[in-house]
C-alpha cells in the first residue's frame, strides 16, 4: 500500500503542475453548469404543477383517485387542483396555459370497474409543461394499477367461492376495497415522481457527473503514459508487485474524481444556490460515482493501446453515457425506452440520487443509487484490472 501511495502522490504532484487537469476536472464543469443554469428555464423552488380534474363519473372509483393520490399531491404542495366540468373546458385551460395538465375521468368508470371491466382516464398535457403531464400520468397509472390489484383480489375471491357472484355484492366489495388505505403508497410514488432538483442543482450535478469521467482518466491513463515514457519498466524492476502500480493509478483517478465533484458541488452551492441536501449521503454518492467512473476508465485503458486512443474512447464513452444518463436534458422529458436505458448509466443514478437528496431524502432514499453505482464500479473496475494488468506486463 505504501508503494501505491508513493505512485499516487507522484502522479498527483504531476497533475497539479499540469493545469489541463484542473481545467478539465474543475473549471470546465463549473463553467458549463453555470451556463446551463443561467440560460435554461429555471424551476427553482421545486416542482409545482397546476392540474385540472374533470370528474364525469362521480362514483367511488373516481372519488378514490381525487381524494387519494391527487389530494395527496395538493397536500404535499406539489400541485394545485382545479375542478372543471367538461373535457373541452379542461383542454382550453391546458391550451391557454392556465393549467399545466388535465385529468379527465370518464362517466361510468366506477360502474365499469365494479363490473370487472375497464375504462380510459385521459391526461391532457401541454408541450410547455411536459413534466406536469408526466406527473399526472404517473399518478393516474399508479392508481389504475391499484384498482387493477383490487379487481384481481375480488375476482380471486369469487373464484374460490368466499362471496357470491351477485354484481351488487361485488360492486359493494370493490367500493369497500377502494375506500381502504392503499397497500402501496401512491402518494409517495407520486411525490417521488414529482421530485426534481432546481435548475442550478440539476445542471451542476449533470456537469459534475459528465466531467468526472474526464477527471478519472488522469489517473488510470497514466499507465499508458508510463509505458510510453519507459518509466513503467523501471517501476516493474523495483521490488513491488505489478498490481501495486495499478492500485496507485486507480487511487489517483479516485482522488481526481472526488476532488472534481466536491469542488463543483461546493462552488455550485455557494455561487449558484444549488441545494444538495444532507452532506453525508451526498459525500457517499460522490464517492460511489467516483468509484464507478474510475472503474469504467480503467476498463477503457485495458482495451487501448495508446494514451490518445484511450482518451478518444473515454470521450466517446463519457459523452454517450452523459446523453443517455440525462446530463444534457432531464429524462422526465425523454421517451420511456430512453428512461429505461438510462438506468445502465452512472449518470442517471447519480442524478436521481441528487434529486432524492434535494427533495429531503437521506441514505435510505439513495441506497439503490449507491448500490448500482458501486456495482458498476466493482464490475468494470474488476474487468479493467485484469485487462490493465496485461497492459502493464505487455512489453
Amino acid at each position: 500500500m505504501g508503494a501505491a501511495l508513493t505512485i499516487a502522490l507522484k502522479d498527483l504532484r504531476q497533475r497539479l503542475r499540469d493545469r489541463s487537469a484542473i481545467i478539465t476536472a474543475i473549471a470546465a464543469p463549473l463553467v458549463l453548469a453555470t451556463m446551463f443554469a443561467l440560460l435554461l428555464p429555471s424551476n427553482d423552488g421545486g416542482f409545482h404543477a397546476d392540474l385540472a380534474v374533470v370528474d364525469l363519473d362521480g362514483g367511488p372509483v373516481a372519488q378514490g383517485l381525487v381524494d387519494g393520490p391527487l389530494a395527496g399531491l395538493e397536500a404535499a404542495d406539489v400541485a394545485d387542483l382545479t375542478t372543471v366540468g367538461s373535457e373541452s373546458e379542461a383542454s382550453t385551460l391546458v391550451e391557454d396555459g392556465t393549467v399545466d395538465a388535465a385529468i379527465v375521468i370518464p362517466a361510468g368508470l366506477s360502474a365499469a370497474v365494479s363490473a370487472g371491466g375497464g375504462a380510459e382516464i385521459t391526461v391532457i398535457g401541454s408541450p410547455a409543461a411536459v413534466l406536469a403531464a408526466q406527473v399526472a400520468r404517473s399518478v393516474v397509472e399508479g392508481y389504475a394499477n391499484e384498482v387493477e390489484a383490487i379487481q384481481l383480489s375480488v375476482t380471486t375471491a369469487i373464484q374460490v367461492g368466499d362471496v357470491g357472484s351477485d354484481p351488487t355484492t361485488v360492486g359493494a366489495l370493490a367500493a369497500e376495497a377502494i375506500a381502504l388505505p392503499a397497500p402501496i403508497a401512491v402518494l409517495d410514488e407520486a411525490a417521488a415522481a414529482a421530485r426534481q432538483a432546481s435548475s442550478a442543482t440539476y445542471y451542476a450535478a449533470a456537469m459534475a457527473v459528465l466531467f468526472v469521467f474526464f477527471a478519472a482518466q488522469f489517473g488510470v491513463l497514466g499507465i499508458l503514459g508510463e509505458r510510453r515514457n519507459g518509466t513503467l519498466g523501471r517501476m516493474l524492476a523495483a521490488p513491488i508487485a505489478p498490481a501495486t502500480i495499478l492500485l496507485g493509478k486507480l487511487l489517483v483517478s479516485l482522488v481526481m474524481c472526488v476532488v472534481s465533484m466536491s469542488v463543483v458541488v461546493t462552488v455550485a452551492a455557494i455561487a449558484l444556490g444549488a441545494d444538495w441536501g444532507a452532506p453525508l449521503p451526498l459525500a457517499a454518492l460522490i464517492v460511489a460515482t467516483s468509484i464507478s467512473a474510475s472503474g469504467i476508465a480503467l476498463l477503457v485503458v485495458g482495451f487501448a493501446r495508446t494514451e490518445d486512443q484511450a482518451g478518444a474512447i473515454t470521450s466517446m464513452v463519457a459523452m454517450t453515457l452523459a446523453v443517455l444518463g440525462g446530463s444534457f436534458f432531464p429524462l422526465t422529458a425523454a421517451p420511456e425506452f430512453l428512461t429505461r436505458l438510462s438506468l445502465l448509466t452512472p449518470h442517471a443514478w447519480f442524478l436521481s440520487g441528487v434529486a432524492e437528496l434535494a427533495g429531503g431524502g437521506g441514505f435510505a432514499a439513495i441506497a439503490p443509487a449507491l448500490g448500482v453505482l458501486l456495482a458498476i464500479g466493482i464490475v468494470t473496475g474488476g474487468l479493467g484490472l485484469l485487462r490493465a494488468r496485461a497492459v502493464v506486463l505487455a512489453r
Binding site: G2, A3, T6, I7, K10, R13, Q14, R17, D18, N229, G230, T231, G233, R234, M235, L236, A237, A238, P239, I240, A241, P242, L393, R395
Partner: protein
Amino acid sequence: MTEPSLLTTQDLRKRYGERLAVDGVSFHIKVGETYGLLGPNGAGKTTTISMICGLLRRDGGEVVVDGRPVDIGATEAKAVIGYVPQDLALYPDLTARENLRFFGRLQRLSGRDLSGRVDEVLDLIGLADRANDRVDSFSGGMKRRLNIGIGLLHRPKLLVLDEPTVGVDPQSRNAILTSVDELGREGLAILYTTHYMEEAERLCDRIGIIDQGRIIAEGTRRELVGLIGERDRLNLVAGGSLGPATEALGRLERVDEATWADGRIELVVSEARTLLPLVLEVAAATGAEVRSVEIVEPDLEAVFLHLTGKALRD
C-alpha cells in the same frame, strides 16, 4: 577459492509469435565481475535483460540472483538489482531530486536514508547543483547520468545497464564509461549490454557474444580472440620490387601468409609488434622501399565477423 556467482541464467527462452527472440541463453556473473553482452541490434540483449530483471515473463529457463529466483513478482530478488534501461526512463516534469526520491521510495528507501542516498547519488553523477531543476531543462548527457544514478540509488549488488551510451555525445559517453569502470573496480557486479565492441573491450572482464538470441561465444577478450587463431596483420605500403620482398618475407618464422598487390604487401603473422623490425630489415634488403606500416591486431569485431560472417553493426 572462486567467487560465487551473483547471477546465473540457465537456458533462457522467449518467443514473440513465430520469432524466437532468446534461444537458450545461459551465463553467470561472479561477485565484482563486469560481464558484457555484445551483439548487434535485435540480437536479443534487451529481451534477455528484461527477463533477468523480472520485467518480462520468460517462456523457459531460470534466472537466479543472489540465490533468489527472479520472476515478475519476485520482489526480494528485484531488490538486489539496479536496472538502467536503454531509453531514458525519467519524469521530465519533475526535478532530478524528485525523480530520485520517487524511485528511491519504490526501492524501499525512506527518511534520512533516502535523503542521504539521494544526495550521494547526485554528487556521484555530478548533478548536485542542478538537483532542484526540472529534468526537461537538462541536456541529453545530464539525463543519461540521472538515468544511471536512479539504478544505483538502493546500493544494488548487481547493476544491469542496457546500452547506456546509445545516442550519447562522445564527451558524455566517455564520462559514462569512466563511471561504469569505477563502479566495477569498487566491486559491483555489472551486466553491460552493448553493440560497441570497444566498450565491451574496455569495461568487461568477460564477454558473451550474442546473435539471433543465442550466445555464440563467451570468455575474456584474449580467449575470444584466440578463437580465430589470434593472428595479427601487418600491412606495408611500399615501392620497388615487391615480388622478391614478399617471397623473402614469407619465408620468415612467424609469418604464416605473405601476399602483395597494388603497392601493398600484406602479412599474416604472430606478434606483429615484435616481428616488425625484422620485417622492415628483410624488406629493405630485398629491394622494397617501405613508406608506411599498419599493424592490425584481431579484435572482437573480427571475432564476431569470423563467427557470424557479418559485422557487429549490420
